[in-house]
């Protein structure tokens, strides 16, 4: 555990990709099986144990420390594992030693567990014994070890390493392309002794065991204003950007001649079990790329309808009939044994059209192309999708995708091929009312801001909070905003500070958002979707910030229908 803890500790401070790779490769080279395999599983989030809940850790710490001090510390540090690791009272192991032997009647100091011991114990330890087990490990480890252990057992490593990067580090042990590991990955299991043996040239390549493997998807860059001028419209084709979840559907035939059908998330997680209605439709031998949508009576539903289909424990017949899953496809990666990823986009598109036509399944259809001759044409389509053929489906469109007609399908986010061009957001000028400490990277900066707009109150105009935003600004602006909150605090409430605001004092924030919904939870009666700080208006007097009527007007325009509230945005959507 100590070596693994040291690795995580180094990774946390290391900003460079290449240096991270070196650290991991070095660890894999010098750590024996099975420890390194479990470490790889931890870094790729492939461990099978049920993660320890934050509540368990809180409970353990609160038994040993003052819960109020623990809570204050947590608000300050902004990371549960780190807070617990720092605050954990170190047992004073002072068992008298005689000739190196502990005296009878005294407990031996707990020994530092290996990562393999931890993982194996977690898989076999019952729920009721788990807290005592974790506590004994925490007693045995030092601060860094405790931190790493808690990261491991809560499955929240967050050390800036993607599964892909960890696999690349393994590939660098030998002369192997990371994609080769990707293709056999789903047939492997921790602690991956056969994988390491192959990479180190001690054994043959492990059988893929998976006739329907995941391939890393190709991602798009946001289109910046200056891109437009540089790009030639004739080199590109357009598609709608669907407001759904990006999926990869793969179907193949196993070595035993059995069909295998899998649906993967953008990050390679196998989510087939959640969509049996869609799995059934994968009657082909190919890997296709598309967007998960809910389609009722031929009409694509909004994202908040789709959300109700997600993250359900049980996928019941009722759920499937109320929220029928649909795959709208836009690319094809392989067909039968042929890898199509090096073909130009338009050739892949033809193959995809042929496949979809042959399949002829109501749950799978093509994402249509959006024809345009100039960027102005496309801008017009983007501002009114319904008018250029999207019809009722316009509700589920959040902009356009722009793809080079000759682009190969490259894993990751290569530059110059695919762009996403989202609709323009709404803008409102609001006044900062509260600042709250952030978490993770922003720990202890006041990085989450609640803002309000003016309305008529019983004693004249007053500010009413309408939302909270925690991004949209640069690191440099964060420093300034943080300083602003600290220097203008009028009240503390735990991690929250109330800042001064009024007609002639306060800070105006230009807030961008995607839509509005009526809300009974918010004092103002409206909830913003995806709000972020667009600009900081250091120059603008708070009295000139917007009034609630501005938002009411947006609601009245029926924008709620087009852009319903989305709640938590996941990574999964097409991008």
């Amino acid at each position: 555990m100590n070596r693994f803890a040291a690795l995580l500790d180094r990774l946390v401070y290391e900003p460079g990709r290449n240096a991270k790779l070196r650290l991991m490769t070095d660890y894999f080279r010098h750590t024996p099986d099975p420890d390194r395999g479990y470490a790889l599983a931890a870094l790729t989030n492939a461990l099978m144990f049920k993660e320890a809940k934050p509540g368990l850790i809180r409970g353990l710490v609160e038994e040993r420390t003052d819960p109020v001090l623990f809570r204050m510390s947590y608000h300050y540090v902004g990371d549960l594992a780190e807070t617990a690791a720092l605050i954990w009272p170190t047992p004073h192991v002072s068992s008298p030693q005689v000739g190196g032997e502990a005296l009878l009647g005294h407990n031996n100091p707990p020994s530092v567990p290996t990562i393999a011991e931890v993982v194996e114990a977690l898989a076999t330890t019952g729920k009721s014994e788990l807290p005592a087990r974790v506590a004994s490990w925490l007693d045995a480890l030092d601060e860094t070890g405790r931190w790493a252990l808690l990261k491991l057992i809560t499955r929240e490593l967050r050390v800036g390493v993607s599964a892909r990067l960890a696999k690349t580090a393994v590939a660098q042990l030998g002369q192997i392309e990371p994609d080769e590991i990707e293709l056999i990955w789903h047939g492997l299991e921790p602690p991956y002794e056969n994988l390491f043996a192959w990479v180190e040239g001690r054994a043959d390549k492990p059988e893929s065991g998976n006739p329907a493997p995941f391939r890393p998807p190709m991602l798009a860059h946001p289109l910046e204003d200056e891109d437009m001028a540089k790009l030639n419209a004739a080199d590109f084709v357009g598609e709608w950007k669907w407001d759904g979840i990006r999926l990869q559907a793969v179907a193949g035939i196993s070595d035993h001649g059995l069909p295998a059908r899998r649906i993967y998330s953008r990050t390679g997680e196998d989510v087939s079990a959640a969509f049996p209605d869609l799995v059934e439709a994968l009657d082909f031998e190919a890997a296709i790329d598309g967007e998960l949508l809910i389609v009722r009576n031929g009409r694509v539903q909004s994202f908040n309808v789709l959300q109700q289909r997600l993250n359900r424990k049980a996928v019941t017949a009722k759920l499937m009939s109320e929220f029928p899953a649909h795959l709208r496809v836009y690319d094809i990666l392989t067909e039968c044994d042929e890898d199509l990823r090096d073909l130009p986009f338009m050739q892949r598109r033809e193959r995809l059209e042929t496949l979809v036509a042959r399949l002829n399944h109501p749950r799978i259809d093509l994402s249509p192309m959006v024809p345009f001759a100039s960027w102005d044409d496309l801008a017009a389509a983007r501002s009114d999708p319904a008018f250029v053929g999207a019809g009722l489906d316009a509700d589920a469109i959040e902009g356009c995708m722009i793809k080079r007609a000759d682009s190969p399908y490259l894993p990751g986010r290569p530059k110059g091929y695919w762009y996403k061009w989202k609709r323009d957001p709404y803008l409102v000028d609001a006044v900062m009312m509260y600042g709250q400490r952030g978490h993770g990277k922003r720990s202890s900066f006041y990085s989450d801001y609640t803002f309000g707009v003016w309305r008529d109150g019983p004693e004249g105009e007053e500010l009413v909070p309408v939302g909270k935003a925690y991004h949209g600004f640069t690191d440099e602006e964060l420093m300034k905003l943080d300083r602003y909150v600290r220097n203008h605090t009028v009240n503390h409430f735990g991690p929250v500070r109330e800042v001064e605001y009024g007609k002639d004092r306060g800070l105006v924030l230009e807030v961008a958002f995607e839509g509005l919904q009526r809300s009974t939870r918010h004092k103002s009666g409206v909830a913003m979707r995806f709000p972020r700080i667009n600009r900081i208006r250091w120059d603008k007097p708070p009295a000139e910030a917007d009034r609630i009527e501005t938002l009411e007007k947006i609601l009245a325009r029926g924008e709620k229908e087009i852009h319903p509230l989305k709640g938590q945005r996941t990574e999964g959507r097409q991008s």
Binding site: V12, Y13, E14, P15, T65, D66, V68, L69, F70, M72, S73, Y76, V77, G78, D79, E82, T83, L86, I87, W147, G440, K441, R442, S443, S444, F445, D482, R483, R486, N487, H492
Partner: protein, 343 residues
């Protein structure tokens, strides 16, 4: 009958004020008469009519603000009583930086100690903290949360030396506050037997010279100046925290970014600053030392100033100590921004 503590000391918009003696302690704005605990810029400001502080603190203020930093100055001798109107004042070592002192106020049988910033750890560049028993103890709380438990600073200095040995081709750039921390790190490196020149950013030079002229052995500390950067392979360079991410630091061969501060205990803090080698070395008392010191003063009443006041106040109550936070503005508010001064 003993006076009430608030008759001796109150809070005004300028900071702590003693009505009986008509003076302020570490005022944040210019006043008639100021008593200064130590030379960090959030405590020691220029422009007061008269200043009473230790001789070293006066020297530091003169170095920072120039000779005319106050109308008149008076050097306080440690542990000697000074009568100011109706109150007796005494300066006592605080162990924070060179010249740092607690200020003891006595009137009508009540004793109040204003700690200023302090630490209990050993420091080769200043006198150790001395516990002064008192009725009311006014403590800082920069690291007033139980997550702040500073490791032995010597082990952190050894961590730096190990890294220097491991990467002899790289320059170790150590961010450290110009007053106190920089000299302490140099002094501790010397205690560990490091005899190589330790290079200084220009902003460190004059205060380091002042420490040396006070007889503190810091060895050879040349200025980086315009010297050829290639010669800094394997060297240790000390600079202000703001410089570790500057262009200034990139001129060195493949630098390792280090930062000596109590804040380095929290990983996210180190990451936010792009620190690769965090060194948990602090000139403030950590949580355990804050609590221990409160107990050792025997104070029945504790006022908690700048830092994490709420946690320390919460800790005091079950220990039978009346405690209240003083939300004073103008001091390193949680010391994060005004780090230039302290931590």
């Amino acid at each position: 009958m003993a006076l009430r503590s608030t008759d001796i000391l109150t809070l005004t918009s300028q900071g702590l004020y003693c009505p009986l003696g008509d003076f302020h302690i570490d005022p944040v704005r210019p006043v008639q008469r100021a008593l200064i605990t130590h030379g960090h810029s959030d405590h020691a400001r220029a422009g007061h009519k008269s200043v009473l502080a230790t001789r070293e603190t006066l020297l530091i203020m003169g170095e920072r603000y120039g000779e005319g930093f106050a109308g008149t100055t008076q050097a306080a001798v440690l542990r000697e009583d000074i009568r100011i109107k109706d109150v007796t004042v005494r300066f006592s070592p605080a162990g924070h930086v060179l010249g740092s002192a607690q200020i003891v106020l006595e009137a009508g049988g009540t004793r109040i100690v204003v700690s200023g910033d302090y630490k209990r750890e050993q420091d080769p560049t200043c006198l150790p903290y001395e516990v002064v028993p008192c009725d009311v103890f006014i403590t800082e709380a920069t690291f007033g949360l139980p997550v702040f438990r500073h490791p032995d600073a010597r082990s952190e200095v050894r961590k730096l030396l190990n890294s220097v040995a491991l990467f002899p081709e790289r320059t170790h750039i150590v961010g450290a506050y110009a007053l106190g921390k920089a000299q302490r790190v140099i002094g501790m490196l010397r205690e560990e037997g490091y005899g190589e020149p330790i290079y200084l950013h220009g902003a460190m030079e004059s205060l380091t010279d002042l420490y040396k002229s006070e007889g503190i052995p810091l060895g050879d500390t040349p200025k980086v100046g315009s010297a050829d950067r290639a010669q800094f392979a394997g060297a240790i360079v000390i600079c202000p925290p703001t410089s570790i991410q500057d262009l200034w630091s990139r001129r060195f061969p493949d630098p390792v970014t280090c930062f000596a501060s109590g804040w380095m205990r929290v990983r996210a803090r180190a990451r936010q600053r792009g620190v690769e080698l965090p060194l948990v070395i602090s000139d403030h008392a950590d949580w355990d030392d804050l609590c221990r010191t409160i107990i050792e003063t025997g104070a029945g009443e504790v006022w908690v100033t700048h830092g994490q006041e709420d946690a320390l106040v919460h800790w005091c109550r079950p220990h039978g100590i009346a405690a209240r936070p003083l939300h004073m503005l103008g001091y390193g508010d949680e010391a994060e921004e005004a780090e230039g001064a302290a931590a």
